[in-house]
């Protein structure tokens, strides 16, 4: 699936606009998975000290994000796409967000996961829609879509885990989730372009 996705990105018969869109997709997805990786890193670091019971659950989600992150790193290198200019900013912001919400408590951390995964899942869906509408039905593009939809399913699983773990009981729930969602949207806007 990874090989085929790299082939899809490097496909020479694509129009310049199509290639440009794929570059945007890989750049923003790489930045997003880096963010997810660092959020869970921060949460895991805090919960290991404060709530060791919750650490294995975070660890499981973190491992999946590390896999996603490595996959997009490989596609970015092999596809000759530049990474986001703001990568160091994403690292610090994501680590801070993860540690900050974990310090607020279990509910806030789960609300953070819920907000992030809602935006990311929707964003992956937008990409999938456009990838199936504007790109050929060849094997490599089918595989690229399969890769992205698999990752989307993982993210939505995290979303359900978060809701099962009392994400809705976070106080102030609305303020916290909406602020994080808007932060994510802003980050997506920037990472796609720069």
């Amino acid at each position: 699936m990874l090989r085929q996705s790299i082939k899809a990105v490097n496909n020479k018969s694509l129009k310049p606009a199509q290639r440009k869109y794929l570059e945007k997709v890989i750049r923003v997805d790489q930045a997003g998975e880096l963010g997810a990786d660092y959020i869970y890193m921060g949460q895991h670091f805090v919960f290991k000290q404060t709530l060791p019971k919750l650490a294995p659950l975070i660890r499981h989600m973190w491992d999946q994000e590390i896999h996603h992150h490595n996959t997009f790193d490989t596609i970015q290198t092999e596809g000759r796409i530049r990474p986001s200019v703001f990568t160091p900013v994403w690292k610090i912001a994501a680590l801070g967000l993860g540690m900050g919400t974990a310090l607020l408590g279990k509910e806030a951390a789960m609300a953070c996961t819920e907000a992030v995964e809602t935006v990311i899942g929707g964003h992956y869906n937008d990409q999938l829609r456009r990838l199936s509408k504007e790109f050929p039905e060849t094997e490599e593009f089918v595989q690229l879509r399969k890769l992205i939809s698999e990752f989307r399913d993982d993210e939505l699983e995290h979303l359900e885990t978060a809701i099962e773990n009392d994400a809705k009981k976070a106080v102030p729930y609305m303020l916290l989730t909406e602020a994080i969602k808007n932060g994510c949207r802003g980050a997506i806007f920037l990472a796609e372009r720069f």
Partner: protein
């Protein structure tokens, strides 16, 4: 009616013959003609420099044919740079470290300029002229991106930019140095380039150790704080 049908017939045959003519011969050679001129231009490069007129003349075309290239000499130069960048993929790399590979690839690329002889200076001055600067920067970026890719660089953050930026500066400086270099096999150019590359890798190593040191101390400080609060 009697008149109309043969006319109709002729029009159709002309169209049919035009179509077959267009697909079988002309369209292909027409599409390839600019490329043919550029290829010939590269062959004649050591004698005639960046001028395209000798190439069109030797293909049996009029001098006017060179005017399909809006930037004239610079178009040939761009074609040359693209070809040289593509050639790097076939260099046999002996080093095991990325830094060693980068050095080999930069040397290979610089030594390829040897065949230009006196026309290297003209090439460098064209590349630096403000009119062509956006294009030359793009070519320079393609070259250093190719070098880092072939050397196996896996930069996913700011290093992606710093590595490409500094290698581009080193390469451009070495190429300018080369225009005034008369030493056999461009020994001075290669040693100039090596000095810059060494300085860069020392700087990168220093930067890495400093950030390692900060990370280590942050973890140590956290552990001290933790042991004090329990």
């Amino acid at each position: 009616m009697i008149r109309a049908s043969p006319r109709f017939f002729t029009v159709r045959t002309v169209q049919a013959s035009l179509r077959s003519y267009a697909t079988a011969h002309t369209s292909k050679s027409e599409v390839d003609l600019p490329r043919q001129i550029l290829e010939r231009g590269l062959q004649l490069l050591p004698e005639h420099g960046w001028d395209l007129a000798p190439a069109t003349r030797s293909l049996g075309l009029s001098d006017q044919a060179a005017s399909i290239f809006p930037n004239g000499k610079f178009d040939l130069l761009q074609f040359y740079l693209q070809k040289q960048t593509a050639k790097l993929a076939s260099v046999q790399l002996k080093s095991s470290t990325p830094d060693g590979c980068v050095r080999e690839l930069v040397h290979a690329r610089l030594l390829a300029n040897a065949e230009l002889g006196p026309y290297l200076g003209e090439a460098v001055s064209m590349l630096m002229s403000p009119k062509y600067l956006p294009y030359s920067l793009e070519q320079l970026h393609n070259l250093v991106d190719e070098i880092w890719f072939l050397a196996g660089d896996k930069g996913h953050d700011a290093t992606w930019y710093t590595r490409r930026g500094s290698l581009a500066m080193i390469y451009a400086a070495s190429e300018s140095f080369m225009t005034r270099d008369n030493s056999p096999n461009f020994k001075h150019t290669l040693s100039f380039c090596d000095r810059q590359l060494n300085a860069w890798s020392r700087f990168e190593a220093a930067e890495e150790s400093v950030s390692e040191w900060f990370k280590f101390n942050a973890i140590a400080a956290f552990n001290v704080a933790k042991s004090l609060t329990r």
